[in-house]
């Protein structure tokens, strides 16, 4: 593989990705086309993951590289690529502060160009519902690891119903969850792995034609 930005991303070679990005910016490459090139690399990593050639750690590493390299790329807000238009909100629910899985998932979403708002940990149902309403959120990702988080997820979803927001938002729960927890909480989907959450989110976005291509 040639020593291109694309290959540096695919090889998860962070130093080279940053060096090449800086060089290209220095020589006047358009930031949007540069970002496209990086996204193509990230996309290739996703394809290799789907084929079983890459693993979640590789996806996490690609997320870290993407996060790092985008610090160097500035472009006007109106030029942000269209794939950012789906509105996704993340929160670890009330009474739970575990966020390793949530943070990794957010990095992956960002590496895919999805625009994410993170409310952090121990977030009350009220705050989540307010934010869903305020931002017209389309996908809500609720995270929880301990058993008391199930009640918080359930309360959050009930509150969305009460506020008549439930039909407007798809709810994905993640962490220590399964089908039983999905039924208990009233969520739409449950995921164990960050990649599964990403896949669902992309499918939802594509159904709503919220993305050109991811």
């Amino acid at each position: 593989m040639k020593n291109t930005l694309f290959s540096a991303v695919v090889n998860l070679d962070e130093r080279n990705v940053i060096r090449l990005t800086k060089d290209k910016l220095k020589y006047g490459q358009d930031p949007i086309s540069l970002l496209d090139e990086i996204c193509l690399g990230v996309e290739e990593i996703g394809k290799r993951y789907a084929k079983g050639k890459y693993f979640i750690a590789d996806l996490i590493m690609s997320g870290l590289i993407f996060k790092e390299v985008t610090k160097y790329i500035c472009f006007p807000k109106e030029n942000i690529p269209a794939l950012n238009k789906i509105k996704v909100l993340f929160a670890t629910v009330e009474a739970d502060i575990h966020d390793v899985g949530k943070n990794v998932t957010i990095d992956l979403f960002k590496a895919k160009g999805i625009n994410v708002t993170d409310l952090g940990v121990d977030v009350s149902p009220c705050n989540i519902a307010e934010e869903v309403e305020k931002q017209n959120i389309e996908v809500l990702c609720l995270s929880g690891l301990i058993s008391s988080s199930y009640n918080s997820m359930r309360k959050t979803i009930k509150l969305l119903e009460e506020k008549q927001l439930r039909d407007k938002v798809k709810v994905i729960i993640g962490g220590n969850v399964d089908e039983n927890v999905k039924i208990f909480t009233g969520a739409d989907y449950w995921v164990k792995e960050c990649t599964h959450g990403l896949k669902i989110c992309i499918e939802l976005a594509q159904k709503k034609s919220l993305v050109k291509c991811i």
Partner: protein
Amino acid sequence: MSINSLSPEERLNAAIQFEKVDRIPCAPLIDNYAARFANITHSEFFFNSKNAFNALASIKERYPVWDIRRSSYSAFYGKYQKIIGHLKNKLPGIELPDNNECQYSESEVMKRENLSIIKKSGYEEFINEYYHRIHGSLKIEIKNALSEQIEILKNEIKEANRCGQTPLYGYLIATAEEIICYTRSFPEFIRDIYQVPGLMHEILSIVTDSLIEITLQAVKQTGVNRVLIGFSRMNGQFFSPYYFEKFCWINLKRIILSFIDQGITPVIHIDGDWTLNLPYFRQLPEKKMIIELDGNTDIFKAKKILKNHTCLLGNVPSTLFTVGTPEQVKEYCRKLLTKLSRGGGFILGSGCALPYMARHENVEAFFESIS
């Protein structure tokens, strides 16, 4: 063989060695639920070992079939969580309401350059610095907490025996990569092993040596030759076989073989999906260890992979205890008992910890499945 003709210790050893048992040993990891069962607060449980042991004894009294005391109480005892707890935490009765569950958060506390402390001054110096950064612990406090931890464990072992149980763990450790991962955070740990593999290989090996030494000393003090080795992250769910072999298996294998060589039974607690990595355990001596599985690894596949080789413990999922029904719990336990007990090498248990919010009727259904 008639039921209850074996003592709990004999039954446990028979299961490990795939010999006939009078009934399947029963080993839920029940600490988190015990306070609620005994109607005391979580903080009363975690900060007062007498309360905790009474609570656990009351479960044993209610459910006499519980014969294997599988407890991590000594590792999570409240008083020293702010001194030697592996992660920054919020505890019931301190930052959280009395009845909340303990919570843990992870961040990049130690930087990559700090890993050189391990090379220069050893693991103890590094971990002391880490505890100091997350808890403000002083060296003398750390030393005292570690001694107290052994005392709590010794008391719990005595208490288990008094209740007619046999203790599963004579000491509990996390693996080198798990500990370094806590100190660096999971994403940064991945970055480390991808970008500075030589350094990581070297420091993980040093930490592994220290953990073996610490464990051998501890087991001499507690007198129970079984050690929990807990870890969750370095598996096929996250890492390729290349990284697993180079950074996890090489050290895990060394720890396990060292313990077996010293007559210690390793009890390997693996969270997450380990299906891809289970065949590696066949490289180790057969019938010398236990593997504890949570609900994420398919225990029925595990049985096929490790048939006649390694005793399995598990794996009623925590979600089933919390939001399932007694019928679902009984059905799952029945499936476990029917499919896994054939040929020996099985212990019924919860997959990881039986949760605080478990429904009482589901816990009852779990124990009744053995009865």
